[in-house]
């Protein structure tokens, strides 16, 4: 039976924070790129 544990972090909320933060960084970076080079 597999152990049901969260990979790399202690809680799933950390993963939620990571992917939402990652997405925000991507959107801000892409937006700056769009604005800077337009």
């Amino acid at each position: 039976m597999d152990e049901d544990r969260v990979p790399l972090f202690r809680k799933w909320s950390y993963w939620y924070a990571l992917v939402i933060g990652f997405l925000v960084v991507c959107i801000v970076f892409f937006n700056l790129l769009t604005k800077h080079f337009s």
């Binding site: 597999d2 152990e3 993963w15 892409f30 937006n31 080079f37 337009s38």
Partner: protein
Amino acid sequence: MSRPDWFVLALTLLVMIAYGLYKGRASKDLEGYFLSNRTVPWYMVLLGIMGTQASAVTFLSAPGQAYTDGMRFVQYYFGLPLAMVVLCISFVPVFHRLKVFTAYEYLEQRFDGKTRTLTSFLFLVQRGLSTGISISAPSIILSSLLGWNIVWTNIFMGGLLIIYTVTGGAKAVAYTQQLQMIIIFSGMTIAGYIVVHRLPAGVGMSEILHIGGKEGKLNIITTGFEGKGKGFDWNDRYNLLSGIIGGFFLALSYFGTDQSQVGRYLTARSLTESRLGLLMNGLVKVPMQFLILLVGVMVFAFYKYNPEPLFFNKSQITVLEHSKYKDSLAIVTAQYDALEKQRLAGGATGADRAVYKATIRRWLDDVGGDSNDTNYIFLRFVTDYLPKGLVGLLIAVIFLAAWGSISATLNSLSSCTIIDFHKRFSRGVSENREYQLSRLYTFFWGAFCVAVAQLAYNLGNSLIEAVNVLGSLFYGVILGIFLVAFYRKRTGGHAVFVSALIIEIGVVVLGILIQKKIVLLSFLWLNVIGAAGVVLLSEILNPILCRRVPSSPPRRG
């Protein structure tokens, strides 16, 4: 293609087949054939997931899309990272705990046999047809640009991989996908490097981005509110909102309920490794797609310093040369060439090029040709400007991208056929016989998909466009069934089965209305409508149709 190109192409494909045959020596039972005995590490799961999702068209169309429409297509993947976390918490542990072969097996334990049969059937229909198209689409592009015979191109695109997929099953698929992804990324990196290398001295990435930005190709973030002050454009396919919401539902459905993906992460050696593969996919997918699209912007900048073809798809120019527009084409071509020379000498802006290109498209529409040039841009650049040998490598990249995606799909189609249908309806089949039948079904589905590819070519573009939206017609409903299974514990099989049938009919009707442009809505929203429709309707119907409240699924293994 030159002789070195043929050599590189043939060698790459032969090495891949030999590698698949060598690595695919699995144990001769269903666990080995479909799940690689659950021994695959997380990084191979990651490459398998990426290789299954990225088809040949991904690498052909995406750069062309950035060239014509800009980079906003990347927003399509914004919902994916969040969907990966939700999947890892809810879907993946259940599949692992129950030790299922297919995602649809769970539905029988949670609801009943008919819901499982319906969902697996929807998957087989949708995936069987769309895989045929994913063979046909790159074959048409290659045969048009290189003058190859379409039947043989279809057979090479969708047929050769059957050799190692039939023999080695999921293990061969996993190992070949790993090698395929390495070759694909190397090929794309080399192509990107050569674009920059062939630009005039002093022109680098900064200038490329400035050119792309000025021409609106770096429109990475769009809100859907840009047009005419009329509010949100529901027909706009790629914007922030549709990317996050529609993309989230699409990713949840694709990775959580499509057996071609579920079959990849079920091969992992533990639940944690399945989850890691999916979570890492969520983090690398957006940057990867950004880089593929960036190649398109780089090619766009390249043609600012080099003559751009009047039409990238050479075969369509041949079509016009044999039409009533033959004489007009000669005049337009001469004028266009003169304009290009003038532009490159610094004497014209190049703004008039669009008029000439629009004329060609109009003529092609009139004579029944293919006026969509987007898919041909990148490959035309490759064949015209890459050195000998590298052209063969880039064409091998297209084949390998197709193989990675198709081999995983054939394995999943076979697993659903044997596990969800054959095994259930014919009892007393020995383990060895099941294994032999699985190989037979893999071969059958391979032959079926090649036949669909040939049929798609014969029927033309309209069918390809129609089948391309097939995923959106089915994914939402399938996701809805799984969402009820996971999150609405009191809903019974009867209610969800009837709801799925009603909503599926509704979504297909809506899809037809969208196709006929009676309803202006992006197809991405059908995933949301299908999923939400099944959840809501089953809630309403459950008190009326519910015969029994199912208990929580039994634990096995």
